[in-house]
Amino acid sequence: MELSAYKLVGRIRAKELRVEDYISSLYDRIKRMEKSVHAYITLTKDLALKRAREIDKKIERGDRTGRLCGIGIAVKDNICTKGIRTTCASHMLESFLPPYDATVIRHIDDEDGIVLGKTNMDEFAMGSSTEYSYFGPTRNPWDFDRVPGGSSGGSAAAVASSMATLALGSDTGGSIRCPASFCSTVGLKPTYGLVSRYGLIAYANSLEQIGPITGNVEDCALLLSCITSHDSLDSTSVNKPEEDYTKHLIDDVNGIRIGVPREFFGEGTQDSVEKMVWNGVLGLEGIGANYEETTLKSLQYALPAYYIIAMSEASSNLARYDGLRYGYRIPDKSYDWGTVFLKDRRFGFGFEVKRRIILGTFALSAGYHDEYYLKAQKVRTLIKRDFEMAFKKFDVLIGPTMPIPPFRIGEKVRDPLEMYMCDVDTVPSNLAGIPSISVQCGFSKGLPIGIQMMAPPFREDVLLRVAFSFQRNFPTLAKVRDK
C-alpha cells in the first residue's frame, strides 16, 4: 500500500479498488505497526469502515465523488473532530468530546476523505519530539529508538509507516516540517491565513497553521487544495479564491532564483545536514535554477522572539482549562474555586506545558512586558521585513529543515534549551507568516534529512513547483518498507 493518494483516487474511481478493502488494509497495517510506532492516540475504525462503504456505494451508483475519494487520513489530535475525543495528548483533555468539527475536517468530509484516527503529538503541540505526550512517545519508523520529530510526530510517523495515506498536522514553530523531515515525508506549513484555524486547539494563534503531511509533493498539493478556503468562522482566514494547487506540479525550475541564507547553517548545524542540503541546492542548479548565498541578519533573533511570543499567547490560550466546563477535574470538589482551578491545572497539565505557561505569564507581566513581549514583536516585524527584502531578489529561500538528524528518545528531554534549539530553522517562517515546505533530501547513516523551501506569502504555487521538480529529479525513499 505504498501508492500515492493521487494514484489511489484514480484506481478507486476506476473501480479497480474498493474503498472498504483499501481502508481495511490500512487498519491491518496499523495492527502490525502500531505496537512499535505508536502513532495514534485514538483509532476510529468502525466509523471509517462505515464511511468507506458509503463511498463505495456512491461509486457504484455513479455519483460524483470528492477529490479525496475514499483516501484514509490521519488527523493530529489537536484538530477537533465532532464526537471523537480530541485530547491534545494531554491528561487535561483525555476525555474531551468536541461537539463540533474543525473546518478542515468538514472539508475532508466534503471531499470524501476518511478520518482513520487521531495522531499522537507533544502535549498541546509544545515540543519537537512527540516525547511530551501524556500517552507516551511515538517512535521514528526508520529507527524505533529515535524520535519522529514533533509536535506532529504521530501524523508523520503514520504516513512514513504507511499507517495512513495522508495526514494533517499543525505547525506553530515547525511542528509539521520537523517531523516531516525526521520521518522522510513531505510537510507544508501554509501561509498564515490560508487554512482555517477554526477547530484547531490553540497553542500560539498568531503563528500556527494546519497543513498536510504526505509521502510526496503531489499528495501535498492535493490535500492542500482540499483544505484551503475562506472561513467566516476564522477572522484571520484570508478571503481569496480557492485554488487547485495540483496544477502547479510542473517539473521545471528554469530561471527560478534561489537564495540560500547563511543564517540557516549556523552553529549547531550538523555537517551531514549542511552537505546534503547544499547537494540539493546544487542539484536544483543542475536542472535550471540559479542560486546565490544571501543573509537575513534578523534571523539570529528569531528563536528567542518565537519562544517569547508563543509562550505568551499559550499562557493566555491555556487559561481556559480549569476543569469547570470540560476536561480534567480533581475528584475532591470540596474546595473553593481558586483551589480547584489550581489543582486541576497542577495535575491536568504536563511538565513542559506548565513550563511554557509560567514563562509566558512572566513575559507578559507588568514590568517585563516591554522588555520581552514587545521586544519580541519588534523582532518579528524586522524578520518580516528581511524576508520581504529577500523575496525581491529570490523566488524561494532554501535551507535545512532541521539542523540535525532525528535524535534518540530521551536524549534531549532533560535539557529544554537544547530541544528549543532544534527549531532554529523552522520558526522564522511562522514569525513571518510565509509558506514553507520540507521535502526529503536523502539519508545520512540511515537517518532522514529534510530540505526546507520558503516562498513569499500565498506563493504556495512556486513552492510546490520547486519541491515537485526536486522530488521528481532527486527521488528519495519516502516510506518504510515492510521488514
Binding site: I79, S316, A319, D322
Partner: protein
C-alpha cells in the same frame, strides 16, 4: 453631600441591549428571565479550538455612542486580552480594548453636559460581558457557586470619564444624562436590570484615589459615593490619610469594604487578541453613521423650547428620560396644548413615577389617556380636581378615563337644583362661617372650599360660586330686618 476638593470619575458599563446576538458569536442576547445556560455555544463558552467573530453591528452601535458623546473615533478597532482567572469567564480572559502597549480604544475624548457643567469623557471601548454568578441564599451560607453563562459574551461598552464630578448628585445626573443619550440612540435600554453598571473613582483633597466597584444602579451610586465621602472625610480629619485602594460596595449593608490595596492590584497581562484582525473604520463609515443618528436629548430639549414654547427648565426635565419625552410628544401631537401637557406630565406623572419608583413603560397610561382627561377638563365636563382624581385612578387601574368618570359619577355637576341643595347644606353646617361671611365677603372662599370638598370637586366651580354669592346676599338682606 458636597465636600471641598471632591473629585469623582465614573467607569460605566452599558450593554448594547438592542443587539440580537452576542459580541463574538451568534447566540441570542435576550437572556433576561430565561433558564440559565441556554444561550451558549462553543464560541462564547470558549471551548478548545473555537474562535471569536466580531459582531459588526456592535461596532456601529458603539460608534454611535462615541459620536453622540463627541468623542474621536480611532481608525481601527483593536482588541486586547485582559487576563485573569474567574469562574464567570469561560476563557479566563476577557476580550476588551486597551489604551497602552500599542492598543487604542474605540474612541477618545468627548463631553457630557449636566446642569450647566461639563463632564469630560476619557475613552469609550467595546468588550464582552462575563457570565453571572449566583448563590443559594447568601454568599456566606451557600455551599457552592452557580454560574450562568447566558450573559457571557454580551456586547458591552465601557465609558470612562475624567474625575470632573464633585458630588454624588452630579454623578447621578451624569448617569441619567448618559442613559437618556443611549436611549435616544436606541442602543441600550437602561431600564433593563443590570444593563447599566458602574464603578466609581473618588478622591478627596488630601487623600488618594479610591475605586468603588459593584455599583448596580443609579440610586446606589449616590449612596455609595456619599458613604465614601463621609468615610474618607473622617479619615482625613483624624489625620489617618486615605491610601489608594479598591473597595466593594455592599448593597445590603450599605457600606464599602476593602477589596485590595495598591500593592495587591491585579496584573491583567494585556496583549493584542491574535484571533481578531484589526477592524478598519473608514471616515466614510463614520459619516454614514452620523447621517443616520437619531435626535439626541440636548437637541430635543432645544427643539421643545422652540417648537412647544416650553420653559427651559420644563424642557430639561422632560428630556431627561427618553420615554417621558416621547410621552410628552405623543400627547402634544394629539392635543395642541403643549404647555398644559408639560405641566401635567411634570406635576402629576413624574411624581407618581418617583413615588412608585417604576419606569414610564410600566405606567398604565398612554398619551391618549392624558389627552382625553385634559380635553374633558377643558370643555368643562370635569373640574381640575376631578381631572387629577381621574388621572390618579387611571394610573392605578389602567382604566380608560371615561370609565372612571362614569363609574365614580364624578362628571361635573351643572344641575342647578343639585348645586343649590349642596350650597344650602354647606351653609347650614357652617353657621359661624356664614356669619363672618356676611361681614367679610372673602370668607365666602372658605365656604366654597368646604363645598368643593364635600362634593369631591365635582360641582361646576363657576356655578357653585355664583350660588354661594347669591345665597349670602339673600341672607344679608333678610338679616337687616
Amino acid at each position: 453631600m458636597k465636600a471641598s476638593g471632591t473629585r469623582i470619575g465614573l467607569e460605566v458599563h452599558c450593554q448594547l441591549t438592542n443587539l440580537k446576538t452576542k459580541l463574538f458569536c451568534s447566540c441570542s442576547s435576550d437572556y433576561r428571565g430565561k433558564a440559565p445556560n441556554i444561550y451558549i455555544c462553543p464560541i462564547c463558552m470558549g471551548m478548545p479550538g473555537t474562535l471569536p467573530v466580531l459582531n459588526k453591528k456592535a461596532v456601529e452601535d458603539a460608534m454611535m455612542v462615541a459620536i453622540a458623546l463627541g468623542a474621536k473615533i480611532s481608525g481601527e478597532m483593536l482588541f486586547f486580552r485582559k487576563n485573569y482567572f474567574y469562574p464567570d469567564m469561560p476563557k479566563n480572559f476577557q476580550i476588551s480594548q486597551y489604551d497602552k502597549a500599542g492598543g487604542v480604544p474605540l474612541a477618545l475624548g468627548g463631553f457630557v453636559q449636566i446642569d450647566g457643567k461639563g463632564v469630560r469623557i476619557r475613552r469609550i471601548q467595546l468588550e464582552e460581558d462575563p457570565g453571572k454568578l449566583s448563590y443559594e441564599g447568601t454568599i456566606e451560607s451557600s455551599t457552592h457557586t452557580l454560574v450562568d453563562y447566558n450573559r457571557a459574551g454580551i456586547a458591552l461598552i465601557e465609558i470612562v470619564t475624567e474625575p470632573d464630578m464633585s458630588s454624588p448628585k452630579e454623578a447621578r445626573l451624569f448617569l441619567e444624562k448618559l442613559r437618556s443619550i443611549l436611549e435616544h440612540l436606541g442602543v441600550s435600554d437602561g431600564s433593563l436590570e443590570g444593563s447599566m453598571r458602574c464603578d466609581a473613582n473618588i478622591s478627596l483633597k488630601g487623600g488618594k484615589r479610591v475605586e468603588v466597584k459593584n455599583i448596580s444602579s443609579f440610586k446606589e451610586v449616590e449612596r455609595a459615593l456619599s458613604f465614601e465621602i463621609t468615610r474618607q472625610k473622617s479619615l482625613i480629619e483624624r489625620g489617618l490619610g486615605v491610601g489608594q485602594e479598591t473597595r466593594h460596595w455592599d448593597e445590603v449593608r450599605r457600606i464599602t469594604v476593602s477589596l485590595r490595596t495598591k500593592e495587591e492590584e491585579q496584573d491583567y497581562r494585556y496583549f493584542p487578541e491574535p484571533d481578531l484582525v484589526p477592524f478598519v473604520i473608514t471616515e466614510e463609515q463614520t459619516r454614514d453613521i452620523e447621517r443616520r443618528m437619531p435626535e439626541l436629548p440636548d437637541k430635543r430639549r432645544r427643539r421643545f423650547i422652540e417648537q412647544y414654547h416650553l420653559l427651559p427648565q420644563s424642557a430639561e426635565i422632560l428630556t431627561r428620560v427618553k420615554a417621558i419625552a416621547d410621552f410628552f410628544e405623543g400627547c402634544a401631537k394629539l392635543y395642541n396644548k403643549p404647555i398644559d401637557i408639560s405641566n401635567w406630565v411634570i406635576g402629576e406623572l413624574l411624581p407618581h413615577i418617583r413615588d412608585k419608583s417604576i419606569g414610564i413603560d410600566e405606567l398604565r397610561i398612554t398619551p391618549k389617556h392624558l389627552v382625553d382627561i385634559l380635553k374633558l377638563m377643558d370643555d368643562g365636563t370635569i373640574s381640575r380636581e376631578t381631572a387629577r382624581f381621574v388621572l390618579q385612578n387611571t394610573l392605578s387601574t389602567g382604566k380608560m378615563p371615561y370609565e372612571v368618570i362614569e363609574e365614580r359619577g364624578v362628571k361635573r355637576v351643572v344641575d342647578r337644583d343639585y348645586v343649590k341643595k349642596m350650597v344650602e347644606k354647606v351653609l347650614e353646617e357652617h353657621p359661624r362661617a356664614v356669619k363672618d361671611a356676611l361681614v367679610d365677603r372673602k370668607v365666602a372662599n372658605y365656604l366654597m372650599g368646604k363645598l368643593m370638598k364635600m362634593t369631591e370637586g365635582r360641582l361646576d366651580p363657576k356655578l357653585a360660586g355664583e350660588m354661594i354669592k347669591r345665597r349670602l346676599s339673600e341672607l344679608s338682606k333678610s338679616a337687616t330686618f
